[in-house]
Every structure is written in C-alpha cells, then in structure tokens.
C-alpha cells in the first residue's frame, strides 16, 4: 500500500524536503509529497481496500494505492483509489 497526503492537504514534510534539494544542487524539483509504504501478505487480496479504509489510511487526509506484487492472477495489478 502506498499512502500519501491527499491533494490540498498541506504537507510540511514534503515542503522541507523540497527546500533542502537545491542545497545539494538538485534544482527544478517541485510537488514533493512524503507518504509511506506498507508491505503485507494477505490471503484474500479482495479485502485490501477495506484494510486501508479501516486502519492503514485515514481517508479524510490520505489517499492510497494498492499494488499487488505477486499472486494467482499473474502480472502485477495496480489499483488506484
């Protein structure tokens, strides 16, 4: 699960990272958002959305994406929310 601040939510951590980059000579970087990645193994991937909604993300302030890395379905599937 990739979890990040919703659009429109002020992300001071992202801003701080963005302001630090030019000090290292990395110009032209904008729109930095800092989120988090949660890896887990599940028996029923169908429940991942519910798991995100109920605990792993707070839908009021965070968006999430679910990426299935391997499974019976074959190629990785990405689901955007």
């Amino acid at each position: 699960m990739l979890i990040r601040p919703k659009q429109g939510i002020l992300d001071p951590q992202g801003q701080t990272v963005e302001r630090a980059l030019p000090a290292l000579g990395f110009e032209g970087v904008s729109g930095v958002r800092v989120g988090r990645l949660i890896e887990l193994e599940v028996e029923d991937p169908g429940r991942l959305g519910e798991i995100c909604e109920r605990l792993l993300a707070n839908p009021l302030i965070e968006d999430y994406e679910i990426e299935e890395l391997s499974g019976a379905a074959g190629p990785a599937a990405t689901e955007d929310r």
Partner: protein, 259 residues
C-alpha cells in the same frame, strides 16, 4: 459525580487528569482492555503517546475495547473529553469530525497559550464566559505540548461545524501553535457531548502550576452532569447503564487499581 480516565499503553497525562477531575468530583482510572466503564458519569481520554504513535497518532488506541465502550457511552449522550492524544484518539474513532496533522512548523511545541471560549453553552465550557462578552473568564491560559495538533477538516465541514457551535475553543489571535484551520483548539461532535481539546486543561487546574484556568473545563462537566440528575447517564439505553455496566467486567485483564 464520578469521572473515569482511560489509561492506554503510552498514556502519560492520566495522573494529572485524575488530579484535575478530583478537584471537582471523584475519579478513577479505567483500563484500555476493559470494555467496562464501571458506571462513571463522564470519561476523559488523556494525553500521551498511545502505542508509540505507530501508524498514525491515535489510530491503534481507537480500536481498543475501552474505546468501543466509550463510543457506546458517547452515543447515549455521556460526556467524553479527549485531551491532546485523547483528541486524536476520538477523531480516529470517528467520534469527532476531522483529523489532526503534524504541526506546520514540524516541531514539538511545548508552551503556554491563551485560548478563547467560543461556545460557552457547551457542557465543557459553561463555567466560563464566552469571549464575546469581553469579560474576564472568556480567555483561558493553558499549556500545549504536541507535535501533531493541526486540526483539519474540509472547508464545507468547518463551515457547518461553526454554524452548529461545534468550535468550542479557539487559540487567541496570533497564538495558534500548530497551523490549525481557523485557529481551532477544541471541537465537539454534533450533539455537543464529545469534546476534543489540543491544549491541556488538566495541566492548568491547580494554582500550583501557575494557572488554574483549565479547571473550568472539569467544573463545567461536573455542573452538566449534576444538572442532569443522578439518573442521567445511560438512561433509557438498552446497551449500557450504570446498573448493568459492572456486570460486564470479566476481570483478569490486569486492571490497575485507581490511583
């Protein structure tokens, strides 16, 4: 009037909360694993760093058995005060609107602030005067100490909350320590019986600490409960009542003795 203060792993302000409650009534500690509020008249969810703030502040504590009971108690009209981390827990438990985000300055802030009473009809502020009166008493001096205190809710929701009087406390002009929307320091649910407050009234309830203004919050709660009469809490509810609550206690959960 008996307060219950819920202790979680990582709570750190429960003793001060007990002290503040005991200045106006009786108080006892409740344990987070215990789905039994022991017939208390009001609940305080204290400050601290429950579960090490893992995942998101308050997210894990919101799932504890005690919070299930607090949710039932709140839905039946019981008074619930969440302070600091307790505010975060109540938001995560969806007993309060909105969410708390890291301070705009990305710093842990620990200092005294002045807050204004914007709704003195609230059961948590009725012993104070509204700031609009211009009289003393509408402004309280209390400390804040937090990293994640920036209140957020969508703009339309904030408008509706203001309309309904759910913004009970605001930081005085120029004193917003965390970038909270509209200088919000304390909000209630729609029914008004659940309040979240980022500053710490329990740390300013005894003249020894330099300000006892915060005591007004606990005094307001006492007046509200006592005005409603002894049969008020849980009255008419099928799920919970002071008379039956004691029977749910299975014991064996390491319940600490009330301090």
């Amino acid at each position: 009037m008996r307060f219950g203060v819920v202790r979680f792993p990582g709570s750190c302000d429960e003793e001060d909360a007990l002290h503040a409650c005991r200045r106006v009534g009786d108080a006892e500690l409740l344990w987070h694993e215990d789905r039994d509020l022991r017939g208390v008249d009001a609940v305080v969810v204290p400050g601290g760093f429950t579960y090490g703030d893992y995942l998101r502040v308050g997210a894990i504590a919101a799932l504890s058995p005690a919070m299930v009971a607090v949710g039932e108690f709140a839905r039946e009209g019981g008074l619930v005060l969440g302070i600091c981390n307790g505010f975060q827990v109540l938001c995560e438990a969806r007993l309060l609107p909105g969410a708390l985000l890291p301070n705009v300055g990305l710093r842990f802030t620990c200092r005294r602030v002045e807050i204004e009473v914007t709704n003195a009809d609230s059961p948590f502020a009725s012993a104070a005067s509204p700031v609009s009166d211009g009289a003393s008493g509408g402004r309280l001096t209390v400390p804040v100490k937090h990293f994640t205190g920036r209140f957020h809710a969508p703009q339309a929701e904030l408008d509706a909350m203001e309309e309904r009087g759910q913004v009970v406390f605001r930081y005085a002009p120029g004193q917003n320590p965390n970038g909270s929307e509209r200088d919000i320091a304390g909000v209630s649910n729609e029914a008004g019986n659940v309040l979240g407050l980022m500053p710490h009234p329990e740390h300013a309830s005894d003249p020894l600490t330099g300000s006892s203004d915060g005591g007004l919050v606990f005094e307001s709660m006492r007046r509200h409960v006592e005005a409603a009469g002894p049969a008020s809490s849980g009255s008419g509810s099928p799920g919970w009542s002071p008379a039956t609550a004691g029977r749910h206690n299975s014991g064996g959960h390491g319940v600490p003795a009330a301090a």
